[in-house]
Amino acid sequence: MTSLRVAVDIGGTFTDLQILDESTGIAHAHKVPTTPADPSEGLITGIREACATLGVGPERISAILHGTTIATNAVLQRRLPEGAVITTAGFTDVLEIGRHVRRQVYANRAEQRALLVPRSRRFGVIERVRADGAVETPLDEASVRAAAERVRASGATAVAIAFLHAYANPDHERRAAEIVQEILPDAFVSCSHSVSPEIREFERTSTTVLNALLMPVVKTYLSRLKGRLADSGISAPVYLVQSNGGVTTPEIAGEQPARLLLSGPSGGARAAEVLAAELAEPNLVAVDMGGTSYDVSIVHDGAVRLVTQGEVDGLPVRLPMIEIRTIGAGGGSIAKVDETGRLHVGPDSAGATPGPVCYRRGGEEPTVTDANLALGRIDPGYFLGGAMDLDADGAGRALIDRVATPLGLEAGAASEGVVAVATARMAAAIRLSLFEKGLDPKDFALISFGGAGGLHACDTAAEIGASRVVFPRDPGTLSAWGMLFGDVVHDLARSRLMRADPAAIPGLRAVVADLHDEAEALLARDGIPEADRGHPVTLDFRYPGQAYEIGVPLPAGLAMPEALDQAVAAFHDAHERQYAHAERHVVPEVVTVRMAATGRLTRPGARPFEAAPDGRPKGTRPIRIAGSEREAAVWDRAAMGAGVGIDGPAIVEEPHSTLLLPPGWRLTVHPTGALIATRIAKEA
């Protein structure tokens, strides 16, 4: 009997679906317009349409994996309830003080920093826990009651409780939460020890505040979704995609919605990880170039890189997540020349409205897309598969008036310059992402997706010294496809500063056992069979006094002194690789013990791919490249059969993206359906 696993990725414009037939391993792509007012509406429409297309009933769906930007958008658009903070007396301003970090050192006006809970709704209570978890001042319950009454008076409906050193001893937070919940039974309450049990009070408080404010938002959405699914006869379990690339249940997502922040690009990164295995390319830089931004994530040794902190709208989110470096470079990035004759490309963007000049929506400033059009790299009649007729003349004029003339260049050189500067910025972002981990770009291939990326990928690869670029199949729904591979993951952590020597072993054992119990309880609640549970442990090490830690796995199935010794040795190695020096005579410290409590879901099998018969180019057109006009073959991607090899310059078109193969590159079809561009000459 056919059963279907459905992955849904809800973007700003489209809701992308991948429907996996679990018996055959074949996945089908589907796209419907996003319904911004209630995204679950588009989701249901997409599932219904897809089921109809496949001729199966919705009762055949075994699981729905749901990627959502609902949490992120609620923060960015401030569609959040009024919140309050209860914290250790004397420290109620921690949230407002922040870390003082500023980006523009000479600016004489302050940068605006988001503050989600104002001073009048932050309340101190009498209590104090020390760094080692010992209680210095017991919790004064009367002061908690008084704070709760003030929360009530303020009208706030979401409460973040964040006490100093609660990661080391959560008792005070737990008791305070009970009291607050007693007094305010309808309030949404989040405690820092359960949301982000890690050292550094500002980051932990910030994460807890975001979590508390998002609880009603996400819970409301999920209950509406539940209703719609029931109405549609779908009883399959729903899993939400988290920032760490794993999935979680609606129950957990409702309690810990901060885990959904920054989950947007994680499907694509997860897809890159799967493709790394399929293509036997263990080291990949995944780049996603859209209209305004360029997202970079790294797959190294076959695994996507995670970090322990990210930010949304400048607010820190201290949770494990897939590492994404984002810069303001996309098709809509604006090119302009300043009064000293400098050409800037981005980070300002024309976005979708007014958009590039060529969109005919009132945009006057030339963009990267306009430059690509002027260079002949985009076909004005085949944008979005011909759905939008582009204004090539307008784009050309804007580039001449605003770039070529002020720089004293001819039109073609100016347009190439715009593309080259954008490419240089993207390459610098990739280099920095690799560099800070001590990785060498030459060991990596690029994998490019997103609507605007195909035109820049080969040049960007050349710029960083990489010689292969992968263009995956179904790039338009790649992110949804990646979600099909998500496991249930609960990231658990305990910050406990200890010297990594034999004396630490009893304490470490206790922490790991404690995490293990917590993991088991969560995975049991999720209904994960015991055989499918995993408990990998990571230790975050640093040399005493360092500000940042490196996570190293604690080898599983190894007895204690050896396991710790191996982890310490691995830390020294990682430090040396990353930072060019290690201090092997120094005993490092463990700062945080992490466990990724994992419930393995059945994995989709390999995607069968049947190559089209070898076709022919649909024509040629002149493009400008490397300073001269060249006649480039133009292919439909669908016409690229297994035996086709193309030499640049060439253009490959598909409905939502265009791929530029520069001279010196050769493009072939991999048996899995991906296109692989290989650099065959240093320069054409």
């Binding site: 003082h100 970090v101 600016a107 500063l497 360092q546």
Partner: protein
């Protein structure tokens, strides 16, 4: 490609900035001490083959604008460029050879490609302790630089790739914190190598000639942007003065900083003649430090988004007669040069406010709140708690000043209370905004903050180099001054907070004593009577306005 096109300039600029950023990442993630690790007290600059700054990683202007002058000084008077060979590292921390104060150790490494020098990589790191009379090398009682720590004139730390380990041993032997300083120093040198490798790659990619031409163009563009911004200011000479409380030794003698700002076409001259004679205590600035503060003030006043490099300095002439607090003669002590440095910045900004009314904010808190508590542990070991803080930003004509906002001049981050308590014998009792500290005005100054901590070790010695206890951050256009700072100690068992002066050295602290620092708020802008009703109500509702007890 022989001819330099504007596209290539931009691409090379991008590559040079990326090289500086990659060096910065190396220091940031590998350093050991709290100063570097959480406070980010270091700077990176990439110079062209002649030693002219071309790209910087955005960090700390006080350093950035000082490194180029230090390099100039080294090249002119110590180690001429012909003697810089491949594999050499030049090091100094000598304030009288282009440095600022002893904890700032500057290192430079020439970058060679096929035997030709194509660039110089430079890094300055503030080290936790380089000896001297007090922990952190901040001896507020020093009257000569010899009391301030270990001094290295410009010399070669490495020659032809071979490092002189003796220099490092000497340095570490003279430090109270050899492990941390050793770790930070290793980071500093690793980052230099990162820079060299990157600059070689860039040189190979574009060719030395193109790289050199692009560097000149990049500097010329910044110079042009500065000149364009200056040309918009009416010509004339504008005066302003402000005061440093005292030097910590002669406590009743305020130090005057006087600025005559002359705008002539597209250049400015900042003349500090008329400022006080050099101080007995360590608040003196070397001329290089003064120049760096003036440049920072000029760039902040112009508010122009100009990439900082050697071109920015060309339209600015700095004059300061020798023997003044703004151009001290050796061996005057300089450890707390930031007291005067910040005041130079606020005075320059004040002069610009005269020249371009309505465009420059009122005074910010104007001091690096540097303090150090040397903790004597029961087992005989010592632990140094060193910290820096900031205060309120000045009100801008169009908006309130930000609270607890770091001035770009020193651009510090704060250290998390939980991190400090995990590693040091201190317990914090307060970290909060200081209500009422922002100067009143049509727009209000930002709030300062308060930070209080208790010593948990048997005893300790406290030193502080603070400012703005007597001369508050000025308001503009009828706005009131921000509230000055305050430092108190409440002895264990007592409930009385005793006031301490702004400069403290060797203060004995016992277990249970609580030290509390309150930093200054920013000045207000415009008459307080013109403050909108809604803003007044918001201040009251949020508790920004009430004065603290």
């Amino acid at each position: 490609m022989d001819e330099l096109d504007p596209i290539q300039v931009e691409i090379i600029r991008n590559a040079l900035v990326a090289a500086a950023e990659e060096m910065s990442v190396t220091v940031w993630r590998t350093s050991r001490s709290a100063v570097v690790r959480e406070i980010l007290d270091y700077s990176i600059s990439v110079f062209d083959a002649h030693g002219r700054s071309t790209a910087q990683s955005a960090a700390m202007p006080v350093h950035l604008n000082s490194m180029p002058a230090c390099l100039d000084e080294i090249l002119a008077n110590h180690i001429p460029i012909e003697e810089w060979n491949e594999g050499d590292i030049i090091i100094t921390n000598d304030p009288y050879a282009g440095g600022q104060h002893l904890p700032d150790i500057q290192t430079f490494k020439p970058v060679f490609l096929d035997g030709q020098r194509i660039a110089i990589a430079g890094i300055l790191v503030h080290h936790l302790d380089v000896g001297g009379g007090a922990a952190g090398s901040y001896d507020a009682s020093a009257t000569e630089i010899y009391q301030e720590g270990f001094r290295m004139p410009p010399l070669k730390l490495a020659e032809g790739g071979k490092r002189n380990e003796a220099v490092i041993k000497l340095l570490l032997r003279n430090s109270r914190e050899p492990v941390n300083v050793g770790g930070d120093f290793a980071s500093q040198l690793a980052a230099l190598d990162t820079g060299v490798a990157n600059l070689q790659r860039i040189g190979r990619r574009y060719g030395p000639a193109t790289l050199a031409a692009a560097a000149e163009r990049i500097q010329a563009q910044s110079e042009a942007a500065m000149r364009a911004a200056i040309a918009r200011i009416p010509d004339g000479t504008y005066h302003f003065e402000d005061f440093v409380d005292d030097d910590g030794i002669e406590r009743d003698r305020p130090l005057r900083i006087r600025v005559a700002l002359t705008v002539a076409g597209d250049s400015v001259t900042v003349d500090l003649d008329g400022s006080s004679p050099q101080a007995v205590g360590p608040v003196n600035c070397t001329l290089n430090m003064t120049r760096s503060a003036v440049i920072c003030g000029v760039m902040m006043a112009l508010g122009a988004d100009v990439p900082a490099n050697a071109g920015c300095y060309r339209p600015v002439t700095v004059k300061a007669p020798e023997g003044l607090v703004v151009n001290a003669r050796s061996p005057a002590p300089v450890a707390n040069r930031m007291a005067t440095g910040h005041r130079i910045v606020t005075t320059v900004l004040g002069a610009f406010a005269e020249a371009m009314p309505g465009q420059v904010p009122a005074a910010y808190y104007g001091v690096s709140y540097a303090y150090a508590l040397n903790c004597f542990m029961a087992d005989g070991t010592r632990r140094v708690y060193f910290d820096l803080e900031c205060g309120g930003w000045g009100a801008h004509p169009e908006e309130d000043g930000a609270s607890a906002f770091s001035c770009g001049f020193h651009n510090i981050a704060n250290a998390p209370v939980e991190m400090l308590e995990n590693t040091l014998p201190v317990t914090f009792t307060e970290y909060a905004l200081a209500p009422g500290s922002g100067g009143r005005g049509r727009t209000r100054g930002g709030l300062g903050l308060s930070r209080a901590f208790r010593l948990d070790a048997p005893e300790g010695a406290f030193a502080a180099n603070l400012e703005r206890f007597k001369f508050a951050p000025y308001g503009l256009a009828g706005g009131e001054a921000g509230q000055p700072g305050r430092l108190t100690i409440t002895r264990a068992g007592s409930s009385v907070a005793e006031d301490l002066p702004s400069k403290v050295s060797g203060l004995k602290v016992a277990r249970g004593d609580v030290l509390r620092l309150q930093t200054a708020g920013g000045g207000g802008y415009g008459p307080p009577a013109e403050r909108p009703r809604a803003a007044i109500e918001r201040d009251r509702a949020e508790g920004y306005a009430e004065t603290s007890g």
